[in-house]
Structures are given as C-alpha cells and as structure tokens.
Symmetry: C2
C-alpha cells in the first residue's frame, strides 16, 4: 500500500476507497493497453494493492472491465448462458437480441459503446479493449460451448457483425437500420450470427 | 460558364479543365451532402456548366463518385454483373470476393475506404456518402435483380456486413481477421452475405 497523506477528517481508507483505487487502475490499463494483455496482477500492481484484494471486490477481469470501461453491471457469464439457453437453432438470434437489449435499454450501453467504437476507429494504435472483451468473454465461450475448435475466428467474425450493426444503426444511422425494431433486426441478422457461431464449418 | 480571367499563356479552358471543374464540384457536393441527395443537375450548377456536358464526360453519378471520392475507375454496374454471374448459391461469396479484391489489390481502395470510414464514424453529421453509394449502386441492384421486394433493407444489412469486416480487418486489426486469406474470408463471410442478399425472407 502507498502511504496516504493525512486526511482532513482523519478518516482511514475504507472499502469504497480501495474499490475506487482498483477501478481507477483498471480503467487506466484497459484504456491504454487493451483487454487481452491486462491481467488482474498488473492491475493490482498499478493500484498498489495485493492481488487477493481484487478478488475480494471483483469476481473476474471481465466484471472489472464491465464496471469500469462499460460502467455497467454487465455479467458476461450470464449473457453467455442466456445466449446458449434454448434450442440450438435460436442461438444466433439470442446473441443479436442480447446486444440490442444492452444497447437500447434505459441507462444502456449504447452511448458508451459508440464512444468506444469512435475512439477505436480514430485511434489507430491497435488498442481495441471492447472488441477483445466481446470476443474473449462472450463470443468465444459461446463457440467453445458448442464444441467448435475454431472458436477464435468465429468470435472475431461475430464481433465484426455486431460492430457493423451498431455502426450502421447508431452512428451512420442508415434509415432502414436505424428505424428497424428489435424483432426485425433479430430476424434479419440472427441467421448471419447463427452461421458465424453455430453452423458447422 | 463563368468568365475566366485571362491566362498568362492565353490558353483557353479545354477538355481536361472542364473535367477537372466537374470533378471538383462533385467531390465537394458528395463530401458535404452525401450520395443520395446529390444529383447530376446539382453538380452542374455547382460547377457552372450545362448538365449535358457532365453526361459528355461521365456515364453516371456512380462513375463520378468513383472517380472523385474513391479516386478509382470503379465500375459499379460491372461489379453488380460479376456478383450476379454464376450460380445463385455463390452470390454472397462473389460479393465478399469483389470487396476483398477492391481493397487489397495494388493501388486498391483500402486506404481511401478506411479513411472515409474513419471520417464517417467521427463526423456525426449524418453524412455517409460511401454507405449510400454501396447500398444504392451495388447491393440494392443485386437484391432487386434477384426479385426481392425488400431490397433496401437487404442492401443496408450488406453494407453493415462489409463495414464490420473492413473495420475489424483493416482498422482494429483483430488478429484472425487481419491474418485471414481472401479464400478464408470468402468461405467464412460468404454465407452471411448470402443470407442478407439472396435467401428468402
């Protein structure tokens, strides 16, 4: 732990302070390095806390990413479970629906997501925390659960599909894409996602 | 025609000057207004030339767009024909291959294309000349030729697929997407494009 200067009211660093210090360190590393190359250990080092303490406050790197970068209580494992629930031929549609719900719900991730997409597109430093997070924590686990040996490329294709949809719907606002209802987009894009994540190839 | 000031060598405006004036006017309008809302008539007005003169130099609005904004002798009608040539079940794959060839060939459109994508993403003024051009001149004609009444939304979905692929391959450089061969990407993404452009729905 660093020596903290004496505080005016004499309060000692508490639960919330430690959480905040960890979150600030995580946000800094995810933003500057990406998702894949950041470890909980490197976040602990950046925050100057014991790695065990991070596990005390956060379940996983994925949760820490969602709480800091996305600023949402997004639970990647629960999303993967929901995508896989139900019949195999509905998995692609489930995946599209999960994202539309996450983007368009009140207090949803749309603003944050499009801001990250904008910065990734203009930045050109090879930082892509959002794409890496989606690929690693959501789409690759889905493809792996279905027994596909080529889960990595499937996950990256799924990311390309999701980025293309959000780009044309929320940023470029192509009339048909911006005006489509959730149920329509699920019907249109579900089979494309089904091909990437589920079909044999 | 505007009165041109006397030139040092006394040369009168010739073929190439008129072409250049038309191209400059077109580039300005496409960049500031988009593709759909620009007409050959408005370009003639901007260039201060007779509309018939534009037809003398350029076959169509699509050619003028390709020659100015894309800076390529890209022939949209020929691309549509090549996509539709051959068996119906290969149309999606043909479309993916056409774009990979256009992007990755020597002197190809990749730099120009990614620059336009970057500017569309950051601009946020609703200008999207590239998406409108691709939708109107390439994908909608393909879907219409196949007899689909919902060609517009199909074309916009095809644009979303193409933008997602180029974003993840050329800008974000996700390892699997950036490292894939043309034949692999055609195999992966062809069926998704086939669903958007060809399958019944």
């Amino acid at each position: 732990m660093t020596d903290t200067p004496p505080r005016p009211r004499g309060r000692r660093p508490g639960r919330e302070d430690t959480r905040a210090v960890i979150k600030a360190a995580a946000l800094k590393l995810f933003s500057s390095v990406g998702y894949d190359k950041v470890s909980l250990r490197s976040i602990a080092r950046e925050a100057d806390v014991d790695p065990a303490l991070i596990h005390h406050y956060f379940e996983s790197k994925a949760e820490l990413f969602a709480r800091t970068v996305l600023d949402l209580p997004m639970d990647a494992e629960a999303i993967v479970e929901r995508i896989l629930a139900g019949p195999r031929n509905e998995i692609g549609a489930n995946a599209i629906r999960e994202f539309l719900d996450a983007w368009d719900s009140p207090g949803g991730a749309r603003e944050r997501f499009t801001a990250m997409l904008r910065s990734a597109v203009t930045d050109d430093t090879g930082r892509r925390p959002m794409s890496e997070y989606l690929s690693k924590e959501i789409f690759a686990p889905v493809a792996e659960a279905l027994g596909h040996p080529n889960a990595k490329i499937r996950a990256q294709l799924a990311v390309s599909l999701i980025l293309g949809l959000s780009l044309t719907r929320y940023i470029l606002k192509l009339p048909g894409m911006a005006g489509a209802k959730h149920s329509q987009l699920v019907e249109y894009a579900g089979p494309a996602m089904q091909h990437y994540l589920v079909d044999s190839w």
